[in-house]
């Protein structure tokens, strides 16, 4: 593939598309239809790429099963069986059918809720290590953490109402200010990245280009 097709055309497409989106947001709201059309193209392209994902899964897990990879192949086999089952039910009965919904809700939905719930244990173990007064900063984190935890324990909050106002101040003053600082920094970072991408200088997503390929 020539360098023009591989690098220049994608950069040009990114530039034109970005300009259209910016123009619609700030100057020409009448470009809404064009923007919607472009977004729909994106959704269609995404749907096509699902095929890549499915092929990748079959290639990788099929190989694990055929090689009887230790500690992996039973999981790979199970995954492939479920993948085929969902595909068959979805194609034959339809993705909105009761059978498909039942299959999804009684398997993935329940598992997903279980994994989400397990997050509590991961957070406990992480915070247990973090809340240790090793230096001034960690001592501060420990104090603030204890206040917030105590405030969220109903019995303690009822006994010591000051915890409620302390927690409220911590959330609305230092935490909010820090979050806003992070947000402003992130927004400026995103602008810089967007600009570099638009003008073809940030090409990490296309592979790292040489000076010649960037056009000097």
């Amino acid at each position: 593939m020539s360098i023009v097709m591989k690098k220049s055309v994608p950069i040009l497409l990114v530039f034109i598309t970005s300009l259209i989106f910016l123009a619609e947001y700030f100057v020409f709201p009448e470009l809404k239809d064009v923007v919607t059309l472009l977004q729909n193209w994106g959704i269609i392209l995404t749907a096509f790429t699902l095929g890549f994902g499915a092929v990748n899964m079959f290639m990788f897990h099929g190989k694990q099963v055929s090689l009887r990879a230790k500690g992996q192949w039973p999981y790979s086999l199970w995954l492939l069986m479920i993948l085929v089952l969902f595909t068959l039910v979805g194609v034959i009965m339809g993705a909105t059918s009761t059978s498909y919904s039942w299959l999804y809700n009684s398997s993935y939905f329940a598992l997903s809720a279980t994994v989400y719930s397990s997050l509590g244990f991961y957070m406990t173990s992480g915070i247990y290590r973090a809340l240790r007064a090793k230096n001034a900063e960690s001592a501060l984190l420990l104090i603030v953490g204890v206040i917030v935890l105590a405030r969220n324990a109903p019995a303690l909050a009822a006994q010591f109402p000051i915890l409620v106002s302390m927690d409220s101040w911590l959330s609305s003053v230092p935490t909010t200010s820090a979050q806003r600082g992070i947000m402003i920094g992130a927004a400026l970072g995103a602008i810089a990245l967007g600009l570099r991408t638009m003008i073809g200088r940030e090409t990490g997503f296309l592979g790292r280009l040489t000076e010649g390929e960037k056009g000097g």
């Binding site: 709201p29 959704i43 899964m57 400026l188 810089a192 940030e202």
Partner: protein, 258 residues
């Protein structure tokens, strides 16, 4: 013609873009000095450790999608993936990139293949094994990544992109298996989780600067300086707004509403 309520934002956007371009041009003549980012400086050391231990490096960009407002974080993550893959290829370390959105797969595959080609080891790249599509469902993806952590025991775990509830699942699992971890996200709610568990952290704007930082390209590095001048302008505006508000004037607020 202009959309009411967005004129001030447009003016600021143009001003920041002009500043960034000026800084990029100035950087061609003299490279600006800026603070080091410990997490990015540690990348070669992290991969070197993986090489010594004979274990792979795991990389993921979280729930990044190209057609949502999280795209910029995903692009930032992909910029670093290229750099990480190149070092891994040089040192003969296998890098496993786990994918949440299938649309990222062809881009990541191409990008990693190029990194291997650059160091003359194109034949060592195995796309089927190294670029792995997990699932487009959040917790299926999360558990699949945890499975890789438990079974393949990567020596280093690098996570740059938009992360949600899976951030703590990843960070804790990789901590438990003894991986050295670098995490970066611009999602404010997940930063504390990464901060308490991971060895290195990139906070918000640092992930956007990461691609420029690791590229060592003076023009890209110049853009980071432009970004910092933007921050100074934001701070000045905040002080002016504070003083005006205390003086009972809503002039700045009215200008911002234009």
């Amino acid at each position: 013609m202009f959309v009411t309520g967005r004129m001030f934002a447009l003016g600021m956007l143009i001003a920041v873009c002009v500043l960034i371009i000026i800084c990029m041009e100035l950087a061609k003549r003299k490279l600006p000095t800026f603070r080091r980012i410990a997490g990015l400086d540690a990348l070669p050391e992290m991969i070197g450790r993986a090489a010594e231990m004979g274990r792979p490096v795991h990389y993921t960009t979280g729930l990044g999608e190209l057609n949502t407002n999280m795209a910029s974080q995903l692009v930032a993550g992909l910029s670093v993936l290229s750099y990480v893959t190149e070092i891994c290829a040089k040192l003969g370390v296998r890098v496993i990139y786990t994918v949440y959105q299938s649309q990222v797969m062809p881009i990541a595959t191409e990008l990693m293949k190029e990194a291997y080609t650059r160091v003359g080891k194109a034949e060592e790249f195995n796309a089927d094994d190294q670029v792995r599509y997990m699932s487009g469902e959040q917790f299926a993806y999360a558990t699949a990544v945890q499975g890789i952590a438990e079974r393949e025991r990567p020596a280093a775990n690098i996570m740059i992109g938009p992360f949600y509830a899976e951030s703590m699942l990843f960070a804790e699992t990789f901590y438990r298996i003894g991986s050295i971890q670098l995490a970066g996200t611009a999602r404010g709610y997940q930063i504390p989780f990464f901060a308490v568990v991971c060895d290195y952290l990139l906070i918000a704007e640092e992930i956007y600067a990461a691609g420029a930082y690791v590229s060592k390209d003076p023009v890209l590095v110049g853009s980071i300086q432009g970004q910092d001048i933007g921050k100074i302008i934001a701070i000045i505006l905040m002080f002016v707004g504070l003083i005006l508000t205390l003086a009972g004037s809503s002039a700045l607020i009215n200008v911002m509403k234009l």
